[in-house]
Symmetry: C2
């Protein structure tokens, strides 16, 4: 078995839980936030810096790596871990989401998806079997089944067909997957915002007895309240003895909401993308460093933060770097934002163990300026 | 005294020499290569990484910092060292070269230079006194006198007037400089490619008894042979008991040629700029990483190199990063090129001490593909 989930502790005050995911490249403590390294690099960062931040697992994108540099090249390099010099766990998505969000002129059939590359317009075909083959070449510890990421909004009829196809594709992924001792295949629950479809999707996927399950098709433009509603009725229904992964979510509030409901894993490009635009997440809310108010502010971004950026650099200097488009600015902001989220998740884990998760969440929301 | 030069050893086979420059922020071993941090950051690098590379001193640009973020802000921050988190020596140029190369619609009078900012076209005036004031605010260990960087080619008459003005300006810089216990002011020898003007410039500046002297107005477009000729007759004429600095030169061959003639300090943006364009300096010559030949080459850039880039990443991965414009590519290339030059200078120092500098130079030229 490529993956083992150990449930360590369940909160008494909510559905939050602590666990461990054992993979061929090490153990992940859950709940966990996964930084995104789309193109075999977490933008601006070295793998060593990610380790300094205590990143335990990163996510990389099958769609991008398939197009460039190509999965065969990555395989020839000895797999993604070796190619990018990261020896801790990697999760790869299936490419499903990107085919639908980035690819152009797509055509979906039962067989798979024909789409045009967002880079050069070249035509490509990805089937469930192909998505598995690509991820087998990449050698990720956790791979995702190829799904149809149902857009929002979708009619009930479309959402139903799409969900059922996702199940059939998951089955084909499982059959195509030959490297089960080194790579674990997770299923993705779809069904748009329809409760019965979501539950049915989960039921069908659970029949396949996959080593983990994800909630897909959220954070695709639906109102925050609807997403929370789906989490409300879904997460605790997901198998208790397997990791539960919420795809594409990583703002602090959604991390809290998801963990409270029993989610174990989350990923998002938001903290790193924000960083490159000069937006810093802090314990007191968001800071836009280019604002003139920081011009001669020689205090750190967050005086409660222990990251390399906050311990060594002032807002005035960071503002200067961003005004001048200096790469060091993007680097320091990325270090800060990733530290912020990874450290937040660490403190969330501690608060769950000490049965004060809800208190911790309330305090955070108050300081950060979120509505409760 | 802000600066002390100790001559440690003079080669028996050429004019190369070993020394130490003692500054308020530490000791520099000479001959030394100085990475350039134009806008208070050596592009892509943290100060800690520069220390890992054993960078002993960096250069920063008065012209750029004067325009943005402004020298007053840097002073308010506690000086350039504190602003950018670098506690080793800093040399700042005078802005002279940039006013002439970057500024627009300049007007030179005896008083100083009126120019328009290359950023927003705003009009500015820099005099020798102003250049000193700015550098006093920056707090660099070594500051440069404001000079007129004579363009190439220049008529004898123009070069003579320009050189004499540079002397008068150096005198005014010395008079304006009030922070002599913490900052050392170097003079800049001009005179274009005319031997008598160069020697006269040096003679006049030596009368001012400044703590160090630089050769300016070289590497401004003149043929390589002419530059070598100037070095030939100039360097050994410069005071033996003071540091000799060749401005703006940093290709491996010119480092060898300059050191052989007695130069102690050199700086250049070339290694870092090349790096950001994907050009790597190696013991066997230059590598352009985007070339298709590196697509599936899983060997390091330079298998003799001990830098972080070469010990951990393949050409195939670096090519991928550059093809995708990933910041990590620019970072790794910068680390490599700076390591290459800093390490080259370290080995040059060892070879001088062991009286095998010329042999080392010849071997290097042969491997690198230079003509001797």
């Amino acid at each position: 078995m490529a993956l083992e989930y150990k449930l360590l502790y369940e909160s008494k005050e909510c559905n939050a839980r602590l666990g461990e995911i054992h993979t061929p490249h090490g153990v992940i403590e859950t709940p966990i936030f996964m930084p995104v390294g789309t193109k075999a690099t977490v933008k601006t960062m070295t793998p060593d810096e990610l380790k300094d931040l205590e990143a335990q697992i990163i996510l990389s994108n099958t769609y991008h790596l398939y197009l460039r540099p190509g999965h065969s090249l990555v395989k020839e390099a000895g797999g993604l871990h070796k190619f990018m010099n990261w020896d801790r766990p990697i999760l790869t998505d299936s490419g499903g989401f990107q085919v639908f969000s980035l690819g152009k002129m797509r055509k979906i059939t039962e067989e798979g998806v024909v789409f045009k590359s967002h880079i050069d317009g070249s035509e490509h075909f990805i089937s469930p079997e192909k998505a598995v083959e690509i991820q087998n070449c990449l050698g990720s510890d956790i791979m995702m089944a190829f799904d149809e990421c149902t857009p929002y909004p979708a009619t009930y009829e479309y959402a139903k067909q799409s969900m059922e196809r996702t199940t059939r594709w998951a089955k084909r992924c499982k059959e195509a997957h030959k490297n089960t001792d080194k790579q674990a295949l997770f299923g993705i629950v779809q069904g748009s915002m329809y409760k019965d479809l979501r539950l049915e999707s989960l039921r069908q996927l659970v029949e396949l007895d996959l080593p983990g399950y994800a909630l897909g098709g959220l954070s695709v433009g639906e109102p925050a309240e609807i997403m929370k509603e789906v989490l409300d009725y879904m997460v605790h229904e997901m198998p208790r003895n397997k990791p539960r992964y919420l795809m594409g979510v990583g703002s602090p509030d959604y991390i809290f909401e998801a963990v409270e409901r029993g989610i174990d894993m989350a990923d998002c490009v938001m903290p790193t993308r924000m960083a490159r635009n000069g937006a810093f997440m802090t314990s007191k809310g968001r800071i836009t460093i280019k604002n003139a108010v920081h011009r001669n502010d020689f205090s750190p971004i967050d005086d409660e933060c222990e990251c390399y950026c906050c311990k060594n650099y002032s807002r005035a200097y960071l503002r200067h770097l961003f005004k001048e488009n200096e790469i060091l600015g993007a680097r320091l902001a990325t270090i800060h934002n990733l530290f912020f989220l990874i450290n937040l998740m660490k403190n969330i884990r501690i608060s769950i163990r000490e049965e004060r998760f809800l208190e911790f969440k309330n305090d955070f929301y108050q300081k950060y300026g979120y509505k409760k």
